[in-house]
C-alpha cells in the first residue's frame, strides 16, 4: 500500500513560559510519517512540556503548531485524538481491573470494537495474562499494556513518553520492535527518553533538549559528525608492533598507550577506514582490534553539557 508522506507534527518557534520561568524557547521541528524522532534531554529539559503541547493539553505562549494538519488547541482537534496514540511517562492503571477490561475501556473511548483485543495482546506478548488483574502484573507487563493502549486503532501519530524507563533489556527490545512495526505501518513516532544507547539504529532523528532549548537536531550520524567526537580504535599486539603503530600515528591523532601491549587511537569518524587500512597493511601480528564509536549517550552528554550556541541543525 502506497502512502503519501505528510508531516504529522509541525512546530514553528514554539515558546512556553510560565510566570517566572521559561519552559521552552524557540522550538521548531517537523516529524513525518514513517519516521521516528527521539526527544532527548535530562529531567526538566522540557520534553514532557513539549509533548503536552503537541497533544493539545497545554497552550503554547507563542509559535504555531500543526499536528496532523490541525491546531491541537482548536476545538475540532478532539476528533483527531482517535488517530493519536499516547503513553504517558508514568501510568498506573486500576489494579482491580484485568488487562482486557483496561484495554476495552480505552478502546471504547476511541469508539473501537472490543472483540478484537487479542491481536493487541499478541503484539505485546501479553495474551496469556490478558484476563489477569493489572495488580498482578510486573512493571514490564504494565508498560506493555500501556503500549497496547497507545496502539489502539492504528494511530497516525504515536507519542511515547519515556517508554523504556526502568525496563529490562529484553522488554526494551520488544518495545523498540513494536515502534519499528508502527513506523513500517506508516505511523509517525515521537519518543522521549534519556536511555538511548541501545536504540541507535531505530530512530531516524534526534532532537536534544537542554533547559528548554533545542541544542541539536539531526540524524545520529550527523550529530556524531557535527560534534566531532572521536571513535576509539583499540589494538592489542606485542610491544614492538604497538611502538610502530604509535610512531606511525602520533603526529596526526591523539594516541594513548595504556600498557605496553595495548594502544588506543582516537580517530574522527571519516578517518576510520583509512586508519584501519594502514594498520592492517603493516602485516604484523595483531591479537585483537576493537573499534568503539561514540554512543548516542556520549553524543548526548557532549551536546547537553556544551553551551547552547550549537543551534539547530537539520
Amino acid at each position: 500500500m502506497k502512502m503519501e508522506n505528510f508531516p504529522a507534527i509541525d512546530l514553528l518557534q514554539v515558546r512556553k513560559s510560565y510566570r517566572d520561568k521559561i519552559a521552552l524557547e524557540d522550538i521548531s521541528l517537523t516529524l513525518s510519517n514513517r519516521q521516528c524522532l527521539a526527544l532527548v534531554g535530562h529531567n526538566g529539559a522540557g520534553k514532557t512540556t513539549l509533548i503536552k503541547i503537541i497533544l493539545g493539553l497545554l497552550r503554547p505562549s507563542h509559535g504555531t503548531i500543526k499536528v496532523i494538519h490541525q491546531d491541537p488547541t482548536s476545538r475540532n482537534f478532539n476528533q483527531l485524538r482517535c488517530s493519536i496514540g499516547f503513553l504517558p511517562e508514568q501510568v498506573l492503571f486500576q489494579k482491580t481491573l484485568t488487562g482486557r477490561e483496561t484495554l476495552a475501556f480505552y478502546a471504547r473511548l476511541k469508539g473501537l470494537p472490543t472483540n478484537n483485543l487479542d491481536e493487541y495482546f499478541d503484539r505485546i506478548d501479553l495474551r496469556a495474562a490478558a484476563d489477569r488483574r493489572v495488580g498482578t502484573y510486573s512493571k514490564g507487563m504494565r508498560q506493555r499494556l500501556g503500549i497496547a493502549q497507545a496502539l489502539l486503532g492504528q494511530p497516525k501519530l504515536l507519542v511515547l513518553d519515556e517508554p523504556t524507563t526502568g525496563l529490562d533489556p529484553v522488554a526494551r527490545q520488544n518495545i523498540y520492535r513494536i515502534i519499528d512495526e508502527e513506523k513500517k505501518n506508516g505511523a509517525a513516532v515521537l519518543i522521549s527518553s534519556h536511555v538511548l544507547t541501545e536504540m541507535d539504529d531505530r530512530i531516524d532523528r534526534v532532537a536534544i533538549l537542554s533547559e528548554g532549548r533545542m541544542v541539536a537536531h539531526g540524524s545520529i550520524p550527523f550529530l556524531r559528525h557535527h560534534i566531532g567526537m572521536r571513535s576509539y580504535l583499540k589494538i592489542n599486539a606485542d610491544p614492538g608492533t604497538c611502538g610502530n603503530i604509535a610512531a606511525m600515528f602520533e603526529a596526526e591523532l591523539p594516541v594513548e598507550h595504556p600498557s605496553t601491549e595495548e594502544i588506543v587511537l582516537r580517530c574522527l569518524p571519516e578517518q576510520k577506514q583509512e586508519i584501519l587500512r594502514r594498520v592492517m597493511a603493516m602485516e604484523t601480528t595483531i591479537t585483537d582490534i576493537e573499534l568503539i564509536d561514540p554512543s548516542l549517550e556520549h553524543i548526548f552528554n557532549a551536546y547537553s553539557s556544551a553551551p547552547s550556541s550549537g543551534g539547530n541543525h537539520v
Binding site: 503536552k52 497533544l55 493539553l57 497545554l58 478532539n78 476528533q79 485524538r81 482517535c82 493519536i84 499516547f86 503513553l87 504517558p88 511517562e89 508514568q90 501510568v91 498506573l92 492503571f93 486500576q94 482491580t96 481491573l97 477490561e101 475501556f105 480505552y106 471504547r108 473511548l109 476511541k110 469508539g111 488483574r133 493502549q149 507519542v159
Partner: protein, 289 residues
C-alpha cells in the same frame, strides 16, 4: 452540519457512560460496593429492629419509626461515604498518571467529570436502596400490618432524598478533587466538608439560636439559614413533610409558616448538586494539566 453535531453529542454521552461503567466496575472489584452496601444494611437493620420494638399499640406505623431512625443514620453516613467515593475523582487520576492519558483521548473534561459522578451516584444509589430496602422489608415482614398497607410512600421519599443527599456530597467531593493538587489535601478537605455540613453547622446554628444574638434576625429567617446546609434540607424533608414522622421527631410543633414545602426542599437539594457539579466542570476545564 446538524448530523455531525448530533453524532458528537451521542459520542459524548457514550463516553460518559463508558466512564461511569468503569467507575462501577472498579467499585465492584475493589469491594467498595459490597462494603458500603453491607454497612448500610447492617446499620439500617440494627436501627430498624431496635427502633421498632417499643412502638407497641400507638397509632404510629412502624415504617414511620424506621424512616425517622434511618434518616438520622443517613444524615451522618451518606455524606461520609459519598465524600469517600468522590474526593479523589480527578486528583487521584492525576496522581496515577491516567488523567493525562484520558485527556489525550477524544473525551472532554466535563464528560470525564460527569462520567465519574454518574458512576459514583449509581454505586451510592445501589447501596442506599439495598441497605434501606432490606431494613424496611425486615420490619414490614415482622410486623402485624399487611405489606400492602405499609406506609411505602415515606420510605420512597427517604430513598429518593437519600440519593439526592449523596449526590450533593458526591458533587462537593468532585469539586474538591478538581481544586486540589494532591490526594492528601483532598482527603483533608473531605473531612473538613463533612465536619462543616454534618456537625459544625448545626452546632453553630444551635449555639446562635440559644444566644441573645438571635434577636437580631427575623423569626422566619432561621429556617432559611438552616437550609443553607444540605443535610438540614434533607432532615426537614424527611421529618417535617409527613404528619407521622413529624410527630415522632418533634417537628409537629412547627407553625405553618415555620415549615418549608417539600418541593422547595427538593429544589434546594438539587441546586446543591447542580452548582458544585457545574463549578467542577468549569474549574476542571481551567485546571492546567
Amino acid at each position: 452540519m446538524p448530523t455531525q453535531a448530533l453524532l458528537l453529542r451521542v459520542g459524548t454521552m457514550y463516553n460518559i457512560l463508558v466512564l461511569a461503567g468503569k467507575e462501577i466496575r472498579d467499585g465492584y472489584r475493589n469491594k467498595w460496593i459490597a462494603v458500603m452496601t453491607l454497612v448500610m444494611t447492617g446499620f439500617a437493620l440494627i436501627l430498624a429492629l431496635l427502633g421498632s420494638a417499643p412502638v407497641g399499640s400507638t397509632h404510629i406505623s412502624p415504617m414511620a419509626v424506621t424512616v425517622v431512625s434511618l434518616s438520622s443514620l443517613g444524615i451522618f453516613f451518606i455524606p461520609l461515604i459519598a465524600l469517600l467515593l468522590s474526593y479523589d475523582s480527578i486528583v487521584g487520576e492525576e496522581e496515577r498518571g491516567t488523567l493525562i492519558l484520558l485527556l489525550a483521548y477524544p473525551i472532554s473534561k466535563p464528560a470525564i467529570a460527569l462520567g465519574k459522578f454518574l458512576g459514583q451516584i449509581s454505586i451510592l444509589s445501589f447501596a442506599i436502596i439495598v441497605g434501606y430496602g432490606c431494613a424496611t422489608l425486615a420490619i414490614a415482614v415482622n410486623g402485624d400490618i399487611p405489606l400492602a398497607e405499609q406506609a411505602w410512600p415515606i420510605l420512597l421519599k427517604l430513598m429518593f432524598s437519600s440519593v439526592l443527599l449523596g449526590g450533593v456530597f458526591l458533587a462537593l467531593g468532585l469539586l474538591l478533587s478538581t481544586m486540589t493538587r494532591d490526594r492528601g489535601t483532598a482527603a483533608a478537605g473531605a473531612i473538613g466538608l463533612w465536619l462543616l455540613f454534618v456537625v459544625l453547622f448545626d452546632m453553630a446554628l444551635l449555639g446562635f439560636l440559644s444566644s441573645s444574638a438571635v434577636d437580631l434576625i427575623r423569626d422566619d429567617a432561621v429556617k432559611w439559614i438552616m437550609l443553607a446546609s444540605p443535610s438540614d434540607a434533607y432532615r426537614m424533608f424527611n421529618l417535617s413533610t409527613n404528619a407521622e414522622t413529624a410527630l415522632l421527631s418533634g417537628m409537629a410543633g412547627l407553625r405553618e409558616d415555620q415549615g418549608v414545602p417539600a418541593p422547595v426542599l427538593i429544589t434546594i437539594l438539587c441546586a446543591w448538586i447542580l452548582i458544585p457539579l457545574t463549578a467542577s466542570c468549569v474549574l476542571f476545564q481551567r485546571r492546567s494539566s
